[in-house]
């Protein structure tokens, strides 16, 4: 049986998450790590959307094609969609913050190697 699109999306999402995690743990360059996190963030978002997807339904936008009356039966669950939007925004914020950090770190230490910032330990 062919996997449904939701399943595919979910698999993709998880693969992305794993790739992201793997990258974040193995790449020593700060920027690459940030990219890896972005990947995993995307993966998470895909998973969220995939979970909210219901086969054969449309986007939860109330307009001419979908009227309020039968929205419950026609549109997919809008909550994950809403969540994913928030998540993307927050992810963006965090990513920006991380980039700012990376910039500052590079300014001060002339390095982007995560293994170089180990003065604080034990």
């Amino acid at each position: 049986m062919m996997p449904s699109i939701a399943q595919l999306a979910m698999a993709t999402g998880f693969i992305l998450i794993l790739i992201g995690f793997y990258g974040a743990l193995t790449q020593r360059n700060l920027l690459r790590m940030i990219v890896a996190f972005t990947l995993s963030g995307t993966g998470v978002n895909i998973v969220i959307v995939a979970i909210g997807y219901m086969h054969g339904r449309t986007a939860p936008i109330l307009d001419a094609t979908v009227n309020a009356a039968d929205a419950v039966s026609r549109v997919i669950d809008p909550v994950p969609q809403a969540l994913v939007l928030t998540a993307i925004v927050i992810g963006l914020g965090v990513t920006a913050l991380m980039l700012a950090y990376a910039l500052k770190l590079h300014e001060q230490r002339r390095s982007l190697d995560i293994a170089k910032f180990t003065e604080l330990k034990w």
Partner: protein, 1051 residues
């Protein structure tokens, strides 16, 4: 009532308002920030007032006008009100504290701070999972901003530390947020709601994939609590961030995250509680262990924060078991931790250097030292702070439910924590102070003082709450304790006024209450109160203000008085802790007493924990019990209770194996403190033993009669104490070891469990108080005058210090038990007591110890007062009047007690009849008759006196013309002495004895405890290497944590 929504609105509005302000008008922006935070604080306070005083119900706030699950709702209840108050207040105070930094950073920084506080409030209030996630992310983002407040941008080797710490934080947060999001969405998928209560009702665990979903969420939120091992990032932040932010991070963020976990556990249900417990306890132990080898103050505080959070997690994990008292315990621990940690972080900001020993600079400001003491006491759970009540409840409930492993681990971790905290306090008080002055600006000291005030207010509150919940008296209202604390306020007075007040107070209290004691307690009451007042006479010899002495001394005495007045286990234990702490501060005052005071407090707290465990075991789930009902403890638990309590009390009497703190502590203490801690304090342990033995009597464990074990311990203690005393060069150490030996005798008497044994113990209690106080004072006076405690450096002082000599002479005759002085009474009763003992072998050891006393006693008097006077000491004066006066009183007391021992003993003898009807004494005329022998102190005194006078008169007649000569007029094999130093035979006085018996004085016990301490340190040092400082490792730790919990937790 203002809607709780305004908490968030206010912060947001202020943050937006800041954006509108002129960037250059920073003062105005700062004012806006403060007003917003103050407003939020007020709102929370208002709610808290309403919940506690008016008893209103929790309020739900529905955003967007819809009920969940269609909209997010916030809930304001008692817990939320308290927590938001905590968060807001911490935020407000930190903002005050950050005045300089915020003004320099401008409105954006202020906005971040506001957002941070707002997000924390949001975490607490929200009942929506996704909303929770959002607030968490806000916390992350704002925290990452606030971390950078640390002023380390101006180069130097540590430059950019907070930057790297912040980045590591972000790395881990990314992992966490991924988990959290995934968890939330799966949970939503499984239940169709995001509302926490909704999810809880939907029994998430039963839904498909629900367990995994919850697991992911749970791991993410728990990770915010910095559990071991996924906590390296947090430590780096604590170490590098601005202390004001660390205060928020530790107190507020920790509290919020804990509450989030609490909410989450609502969803998960009971099966997740053990996992929370496990994570908590492992974190608690590991963090405390790793803190041991720390030398960096903020990192240490970080470890400690993590540990405390872990402990609260344990409490949350045990909520099933703890039931209704969960909030009382959890909040007690959490708020103690939050207030103390915030205060300590703020304090750390006042100091320039980051090594623990650099805190010695704080000594310039007694007020700040007091703050430190308050915080330390709160963290270690000492009375009267909330942590104490919480610990008591926790331990009792755990013991009641048979959770002994958990109980043991909690106490172990708490002991380790006390270890490093008190070590730190020792550094603070004793290490060489750096030259830097501690800046005392109002906006920085203010928050600290508020924390102190909050600490004491909470102490009162928890006392009150405990009263409401468990029907106890508020500790803070106990008269003795109030009296002791009042000296904190009077500390600016000159010492002599405080001394007079103290003496008057103690005597007055005795006069007021003496009718309330039975004869047994009366003896202790007299020793503690009247005896204590008597020793305080010596304190008149100290001039100046003597900051800190009187609160400590009075705390100790208050503890002791409360101890004998205690009727319930709780009062008893609280008093025990109070006297321990008071005496610790007293001991710490000695010049070189830092390590000894530390080992004292550690042994004492260890002992106290055992007592606590014993009481908890005996209580069998009840919150407390009457001391008298110890007798009714049921069979399987009873011997264990006995063992725990006995060992606990024996840490105070310094029984062998637990004695190593005593010599240093007593020897290094100040002149007038030594008699207090030796003559008086040790009796507290004996009192404990008496209470225990009276109630529980003989107990058997695996067929071993425990009192027989006690007999052995007591005998060995007496032997080793005496033997060690023989080989001391330091006069006060000698006396200290002698005390160990004497306590061995007293313990032996108790363990005999017969009438005369107890009487003997009481004779020893009285005698030991009198002569040891006297000897310590005399020796202390000599040491004060000669500037040394090494006996071989003294000699020939009899002519210069005749009164001290007389005191020591009478003292050693009394100690050695030679008739006609009072020590003989003790020996006589002792022999009569062992006649009827059923178990005789340990007496051999005790017999061995007896004559050894002569060795050290002679050495004491000879090497100090007899022999050759040294050059430098030729002009030494008699000890100060106020040190000699009590000695002379003691001499008189000893003589009186020698002639009429019945004065005290008759009543006790009669009183003991109700416990041991057999074998009492018969008090006929002057003669005291036992079943075996008889003794007439008056006759002995008269006969010896008459013979002595006659012989003396004879000698005077024959030898009236004797030529008084000087010290070198001795026959010296027709030579002459070279110098006094080479003629005074004093050092290593018992060299031949050492050759024969020295093998017994190998420091086995010291070595054992040293090895144990080393092991703990090494373990901590190895363990903390896990945190290698690499952000990726921290990320990996988090994933590992998840995996470990997954498999260990069996999900």
């Amino acid at each position: 009532m203002v809607s709780p929504l305004y908490l968030i609105v206010l912060a947001l509005a202020a943050a937006f308002l800041l954006g509108l302000l002129n960037p250059e008008r920073r003062g105005r922006a700062y004012a806006v920030t403060l007003v917003a935070l103050a407003g939020m604080t007020l709102i929370s306070a208002d709610w808290l007032w309403a919940f506690t005083m008016e008893g209103i119900d929790p309020v739900d706030v529905y955003t967007a006008g819809a009920e969940p699950p269609f909209a997010i709702n916030l809930r304001m209840g008692l817990a939320e009100a308290a927590l938001t108050l905590l968060v807001n207040l911490t935020g407000l105070l930190s903002a005050l504290y950050l005045k300089d930094v915020l003004l320099a950073g401008g409105r954006r920084t202020m906005a971040v701070l506001l957002i941070s506080v707002m997000a924390l409030v949001g975490i607490i209030l929200t009942r929506d999972l996704f909303n929770l996630f959002v607030f968490f992310e806000l916390v992350v983002i704002s925290s990452a901003g606030l971390v950078l407040l640390a002023n380390d941008k101006d180069g130097g080797p540590a430059s950019g530390l907070s930057l790297s710490a912040g980045f590591k934080y972000l790395i881990v947060s990314q992992f966490i947020s991924a988990f959290l999001l995934l968890g939330i969405i799966f949970a939503y998928h499984a239940t169709g709601t995001l509302n926490i209560d909704g999810m809880a009702n939907a029994s998430l665990g039963l839904a498909t994939g629900g367990t995994i979903a919850f697991f992911l969420m749970f791991m993410a939120i728990v990770a915010e609590l910095k559990p071991f091992p996924a906590n390296g990032w947090a430590l780096d932040i604590y170490e590098s961030a601005h202390p004001a932010f660390s205060a928020i991070f530790s107190a507020a963020t920790g509290a919020a995250a804990l509450y989030a976990v609490d909410k989450l556990l609502l969803i998960g249900g009971a099966e997740w509680l053990p996992i929370a417990t496990g994570i908590g306890i492992v974190t608690f132990i590991a963090a405390n262990l790793f803190a041991l080898p720390q030398t960096h103050d903020r990192r240490l505080l970080g470890y400690s924060s993590i540990a405390q959070t872990g402990l609260v997690l344990v409490v949350l994990g045990q909520r099933d078991l703890l039931g209704d008292s969960t909030p009382f315990i959890a909040f007690g621990l959490l708020i103690s931790h939050a207030v103390a940690k915030a205060g300590l972080f703020w304090l750390s900001g006042l100091l320039k250097n980051r090594q623990l020993a650099d805190w010695a600079a704080l000594r310039q400001r007694p007020l700040l030292v007091f703050a430190f003491v308050t915080f330390t006491a709160m963290l270690t759970g000492l009375p009267p702070f909330p942590g104490f009540y919480a610990k008591w409840e926790l331990v009792h409930q755990l013991a009641g439910a048979g959770q002994f492993t958990l109980l043991g681990l909690i106490l172990l971790g708490a002991l380790i924590e006390a270890g490093y905290l008190f070590r730190w306090f020792g550094y603070l008080m004793k290490r060489e102070a750096p030259v830097e002055t501690v800046p005392c600006t109002g906006h920085k000291v203010g928050p600290v003082l508020v924390a102190v005030a909050a600490g004491w207010a909470l102490a009162y509150l928890w006392g009150d709450l405990a009263g409401g919940l468990f029907g106890r008296d508020n500790l803070l209202l106990a008269l003795p304790l109030l009296f002791a604390l009042s000296f904190l306020l009077l500390d600016w007075l000159p010492a002599w006024i405080k001394n007079s007040l103290a003496i008057a107070g103690m005597v007055a209290f005795f006069l007021l209450t003496w009718g309330e004691y039975d004869p047994l307690r009366l003896i202790f009451a007299i020793i503690f109160l009247i005896g204590g007042a008597l020793t305080l006479l010596a304190s008149y010899s100290v001039h100046g203000r003597r900051i800190g002495f009187y609160p400590a001394a009075m705390l100790m005495y208050a503890g002791m008085v409360m101890l004998i007045r205690a009727t319930t286990s709780f009062d008893f234990f609280a008093a025990w802790e109070l006297l321990t702490v008071g005496s610790y501060f007293l001991i710490l005052r000695g010049k070189h007493s830092e390590p000894h005071a530390l080992s004292y407090i550690l042994f004492s707290l260890g002992g106290a924990f055992l007592i606590l465990a014993g009481f908890a075991l005996a209580a069998a789930g009840a919150p407390q019990f009457d001391l008298a009902s110890l007798a009714q403890v049921a069979a399987p638990a009873a011997p264990w209770v006995f063992v725990l309590l006995a060992v606990g009390f024996m840490t105070k009497t310094a029984a062998i194996g637990l004695h190593i703190w005593l010599p240093g502590a007593h020897a290094e203490a100040e002149t007038d403190v030594s008699p207090m801690v030796s003559g008086i304090l040790l009796k507290a342990g004996l009192y404990g033993m008496m209470v225990l033995l009276l109630a529980m009597g003989k107990q058997q464990l695996y067929g071993v009669e425990l009192t027989h074990v006690l007999l052995w311990i007591a005998a060995l203690t007496a032997l080793i104490g005496n033997l060690m005393a023989v080989f001391q060069e330091d006069a006060k150490r000698l006396l200290a070891y002698s005390s160990i030996g004497q306590m061995g005798y007293a313990l032996f008497g108790l363990a005999l469990m017969n009438h005369l044994g107890w009487l003997m113990a009481l004779v020893f209690v009285i005698n030991h108080y009198i002569y040891k106080s006297m000897l310590f004072l005399a020796v202390g006076g000599v040491a004060k005058r000669t500037g040394t405690r090494e006996m071989y450096k003294m000699g020939g002082l009899i002519r210069l210090m005749p009164l001290s000599f007389i005191a020591v002479l009478i003292g050693i005759i009394a100690v050695s038990g030679v008739p006609p002085l009072s020590g003989f009474g003790g020996r006589w009763v002792f022999y009569n007591a062992i006649m009827s003992a059923e178990y005789r072998l340990p007496m051999v050891v005790l017999f061995m110890a007896g004559p050894i006393a002569f060795l050290y006693l002679f050495r004491l008097i000879y090497t100090i007062f007899l022999g050759q006077l040294k050059d430098e000491l030729r002009r030494v004066k008699e000890a100060p009047f106020w040190i000699v006066l009590p000695q002379m009183i003691y001499v008189a007391l000893l003589l009186v007690f020698a002639v009429v021992p019945g004065l005290a003993l008759r009543h006790v003898d009669a009183y003991l009849n109700q416990f041991f009807p057999e074998g009492g004494l018969h008090w006929g005329g002057g003669t005291i008759i036992s079943d075996y022998g008889y003794w007439n102190p008056v006759a002995i005194m008269i006969i010896v006196g008459v013979i002595f006078t006659t012989v003396f008169a004879l000698l005077l007649i024959v030898n009236r013309k004797a030529q008084m000569v000087k010290q070198f007029n001795i026959v010296f094999s027709a030579e002459r002495p070279f110098r006094p130093e080479t003629t005074h035979y004093a050092w290593n006085f018992y060299a031949p004895y050492r050759k024969a018996m020295g093998f017994l004085t190998q420091p086995f016990v010291t070595r054992f405890w040293d090895t144990l301490a080393d092991l703990l340190h090494t373990a901590g040092d190895l363990g903390r290497r896990l945190y290698d400082g690499n952000g990726q490792s921290y990320g990996f730790h988090f994933l590992a944590f998840v995996v470990i919990v997954f498999f260990v937790g069996g999900i």
